[in-house]
Amino acid sequence: MPSARAGSLDGSAGATTLLEIRGLTVTYGLNTRHRVRAVSDVSLQVGVGRTLALIGESGSGKSSIARAICGLAPVEAGSIWMDGHELTTATDRPVAAGERGIQIVFQDPVSALDPRWPTWRSVAEPLQRHVDSAEERRERALVLLERVGLDRSFGDRHPHQLSGGQRQRVTIARALAPAPRLVILDEAVSALDVSVRNEILVLLDDLKKQGGLTYLLISHDMGAVAQMATDVAVMYLGRVVEAGEAARVIKEPVHPYTDALLAAVPTVSGDVIDPAFRPRGEIGDTAHPPPGCRYHPRCPLAIERCATEEPAMRTVHARLTACHRAEETRP
Amino acid sequence: MTSTVVKRLLAIIPTVVVATLLVFSLAQITPGGAAEAAAGPTASPAQIAALKAQMGLNDPLPVQYGKWLWSLAHLQFGQSVINRQDVGAEIMQRLPVTIELTLLALLVALTVGIPLGILSAARRQTRFDAAVRGGSGLGLAIPEWLLAMLAVDVFALQLGWLPPTGFTPLTDSIGANLQGMILPALALGSGAAAIVTRQTRGAMIEVLDSPFVRTAWALGIPRREIYFRFALKNALISVITVVGLIAGALLGVAILIERVFVIPGMGSMLVDGVGQKDFPVMQGVTVVFVAIVILINLAVDLSYAALDPRIRR
C-alpha cells in the first residue's frame, strides 16, 4: 500500500521534509495478552516551516504518534526520521528526539510543571546539559518568558500562582529553551478557556514565524486546526483516512469521515450535517478494529466492498484518501 | 469470577510456603533445644542426646522441614512434649472458642463502627461528629486488656450483671455461652470498632463528594437510600481492607483477653506452650493462626471483586 505523503502534496514545490514517518505501527502491550495496536502502518511527512495537524477522535492514534516521535511509545514496526536521521533505532529515544531538535508541549500545564520550582527553573531545565552557569540559565529563562508574553517578574512565581493560560505559556517557553526545530503540540490548548485558547494560538503563530519553527499539531479541536494548520491528516482507529493541504481538506473533504467530523463541529454559521453523511453508532475499538475499511460500520456510504477490502491510499481531488467511493462524495 | 478465585488461590501458595518456613525455623532458632525442653531440667546429656535422635532432630534441616510439612498436611501436629497430649486434638477443642470470640468482636466492631461512621460522615462538623471522633480516639487509645479488666470490675464484680470469668461451651447452653462472651467480645472489639468507625467515616466523606452521589441527589433519590445503599457500597471497599488488617491483630489481642476472662481458647494454649518451650504446641498453634489470617485476607481480596465490578476480569 503506497504511503501517504501529506507534505509532498502541499503545493509548495521544493519544501524540504523535516520529519518523516514511514509505515509506523505503535502497539501497546506487545508481549502481553492485551495488545492494542494504536497506530497501523501510518506514513506522513512534515515540511520545514509547515504546520501539520493530526485530527481525529478517541482511538484515532494521533497522540500515540506524538509519543512515538518522542520515544515515549513502543514502536512495533516502521521508522521515524528527523532531518534525515532515524530516531526509532536510537538507544535512548527520548534523548535522541531532544537532540535532533524536537520538543513537545502537552495538554495539562498543571502536571507538566514542578509545583515546587519557580517558573524560571522549569523553563531553564532543558538548558542544564549545555549551560553550566545557573545565572546564565536564569537569564535565558527570563528572556524566554518575555518571548512568550510574560513579564520577567513571572520568573520567580510558582505555578499555583499563575492562571491556566500563563502556565501554558511557561511550558511553551520551556519547549523553546533548547532552540528546537520541530515543536509537537499535543492538545496544547484543549484544557484552556476558549478566550485564552485563541491568545495562545496567536502566540504560537507569532513564535513560528519569528523562529522558523515547524509544528506538528495534535488536536481534536477543529477550530484550532482550521486556524493554525497548513496541512492536515485525518485519522480514524489508527489509520490515516485523508491527508492534504489544510484548505482543501477542510473546505472540501472527500472522505465520508472527514465530512462527518467537520460537519459535527459546532460553528455559528448554521451548517448542519447532511443526513446523508451522518455517521452511525459508536466509534470503534482500536483493540478490535472492524475488517475491511475501519470506518465502514459507521459509514452511511458503505457498500459490500467496504466490509471486506481495506481501501488503499490514493490521490483523489489533489489530496490523499483511503476510500473506495471517494470520487462519489464530491461532484 | 471463578478465574479470579483460582488466581487468588494460586497466589497465596508462596505466602503459605514462606509462612511455614518461618514457623519451622522457630524451633531451630529458639535458644534451648526442643529435646532439652522435653527432657526436663534434670535430664543427663545422654538422655537429651537420645531424645534428640528419637525426635528426629539430627536429620538434615530440609528433611526435618519436609517431614513436618508432610505431617501438617495430614493434620498431624504431633504431641505436646510436656504432657504428651495430641496437639491437633487440643487445637480442635480450643480453636472454635477463639474463633467465636474473634468473630463476636468483629461483629461488635462492624455493627457499631459502620453505622456510626456513616452517621458521622452525614453530620460532618457537628457536635455528634466530634463526639464520635473523640469516642473512637478513646477506643483506640485504651488497651483492650485494660478495658477488659475495667469491665470485669464494673459490670461483673460491682454491678453483678454479667459473670466475671468462666466459659460455657456453646453445646451446653447458648444463653450461658453468650452471657459469658459479652464482656470479652466488647472489650476485644473496642479498638477494632474505633478503627472501623474512622475508616467508614473517611471513606463515606470521600464518596459523598463524588460526582455519582451528586447525580443521585439530582434524581431525587431519598437521602437514606443514597447513604445506606449507593454511597455505602463504594465506601465499603476501603472499610473491608481495614477489616482484613484488623482481623489478624484481633487474633493476637484475643490471647490477652482470654487470659483476663479465663477462656479456654488457643491463646492460653500458645502462651503456656511458649513458656514451657513446647515446640509442637508452639508450631501447631502458630501455623493455625497464620492459616486463619491468610484465609481472612483471601476473603477480603475476593470481596473486592464482589463489590467492585471493575476489578473482575
Partner: protein, 331 residues
C-alpha cells in the same frame, strides 16, 4: 406574557473561598418559558454550573443564597429539604459533565435507573422494569435490556450520557438542565447527543437550560442565549439576534473564538487576560480589564438593560458600539 416555567431573579450565591465569602453568582436573572431551549454560555468562574446547582438546591455546604428561583410558579429557595427532594427528578432533571464518572461504578445501569424511577413513583417491579427499558430505548440506546445489566465502565461516554438523560427524565420532569453534557465527548458523538436533547425537548415540550462554554454549540441547539461573565448575565436574547448583532464586547469577542471552518489559516485573536476569580473584581464593569472599548465611564457598575424587546445587554456603550458582527453568519 406567559408565566415563565423557570424564573431566576437577582440570584446571588456566596461561597467561602480561602476563608472569606465571595459571590460566585451575583445578581443573575434568567427566564425560561414552556418548551424553550435556553443556553447559558460562559467560561471558568462565570458561575454557570453554580446556577444549575442553585436551581436544584445542591450547592456545596456553607453556600449563602439570596434572590428568587421560581419553578412553575413555586419559590424553590423557601422549600424545606423534604419537599425539595420531591422536586428533584420529578420536576427538574439534570445531566452532568463526564457521564461515566457521574454514574455509580459499582451498580448496574438498571439498578440506578430503577432507583430513579422508584424515587417518585410506586410501580410494580415488572412495570418499573418495562418503563426502564422504554426509557433507554427512547434515548437511542441499542439493546436496552442488555444495558440494564451493564456497568458504567462497560459503556462509552456517549452511551453513559444517554443513560443519564434517561434517568433525568425518568420521573417526568418538565425542565431539563444540562451542565456541559458533551464537553468530554468526541465531536461526532457530541453532535448526536445534542440532536437527542433537541428531539427529547421537542417531542415532550420540555424546557431546557443548556449550560456550556461553547457558543457554537449553544447556537445550534438553543432558541435563546444568555451570556454570563463573572457571575452576571452580560447579554441575553434570541440566538439569531445575538449572533447577528452581538452588543456586549464580551459576546463579540467570544464569537471571534468560535471555530470558523470557512477561513482556513487565519488566526483569530482571543481575549487578552483571564476571567476574574469570583469576588476579585473591582466595582464597575467586570469585563473592563479585558475590554477593547473600555472608557472611564465603565468604572461605574453596569446594569442589565433592554436594548430592544427581548435583547438585554449589560454595557453602557452597547448602543454606540453597534457594528459589523465579527463573523459572517449564514442562517
Amino acid at each position: 406574557m406567559n408565566a415563565a416555567h423557570l424564573a431566576v431573579s437577582n440570584l446571588r450565591v456566596m461561597l467561602a473561598r480561602q476563608g472569606r465569602p465571595v459571590p460566585v453568582i451575583d445578581d443573575l436573572s434568567l427566564e425560561i418559558g414552556e418548551g424553550e431551549i435556553v443556553g447559558m454560555v460562559g467560561e471558568s468562574g462565570s458561575g454557570k454550573t453554580m446556577t444549575a446547582l442553585a436551581v436544584l438546591q445542591l450547592l456545596p455546604r456553607g453556600a449563602e443564597v439570596s434572590g428568587s428561583i421560581r419553578l412553575e410558579g413555586r419559590e424553590l429557595l423557601d422549600l424545606p429539604e423534604s419537599e425539595m427532594q420531591q422536586v428533584r427528578g420529578a420536576r427538574v432533571g439534570m445531566v452532568f459533565q463526564e457521564p461515566v464518572a457521574a454514574l455509580n461504578p459499582v451498580f448496574t445501569i438498571g439498578t440506578q435507573l430503577l432507583a430513579a424511577i422508584n424515587a417518585h413513583r410506586d410501580l410494580s417491579r415488572a412495570d418499573a422494569r418495562a418503563r426502564a427499558v422504554e426509557l433507554l430505548g427512547n434515548v437511542g440506546l441499542p439493546e436496552p435490556e442488555m444495558r440494564l445489566r451493564q456497568y458504567p465502565h462497560q459503556l462509552s461516554g456517549g452511551m453513559c450520557q444517554r443513560a443519564m438523560l434517561a434517568m433525568a427524565l425518568a420521573s417526568g420532569a418538565r425542565l431539563l438542565i444540562c451542565d456541559e453534557p458533551t464537553t468530554s465527548l468526541d465531536v461526532t458523538i457530541q453532535d448526536e447527543i445534542i440532536r437527542l436533547i433537541r428531539r427529547l425537548a421537542v417531542e415532550s415540550g420540555i424546557a431546557v437550560l443548556f449550560i456550556s462554554h461553547d457558543l457554537g454549540l449553544v447556537s445550534r441547539l438553543c432558541h435563546r442565549v444568555a451570556v454570563v461573565y463573572a457571575g452576571q448575565v452580560v447579554e441575553a436574547g434570541p440566538t439569531s439576534t445575538l449572533l447577528r448583532e452581538p452588543r456586549h464586547p464580551y459576546t463579540r469577542a467570544l464569537l471571534r473564538c468560535v471555530p470558523n471552518l470557512h477561513e482556513v489559516g487565519v488566526v483569530h485573536r482571543g481575549i487578552p487576560g483571564t476571567p476574574p476569580l469570583p469576588g476579585s473584581s473591582p466595582p464597575g464593569c467586570r469585563f473592563r480589564p479585558r475590554c477593547e472599548f473600555a472608557v472611564d465611564a465603565c468604572a461605574a457598575p453596569q446594569v442589565l438593560e433592554p436594548l430592544a424587546e427581548d435583547h438585554l445587554v449589560r454595557c453602557g456603550r452597547a448602543g454606540e458600539l453597534a457594528g459589523q458582527p465579527p463573523i459572517a453568519v449564514r442562517s
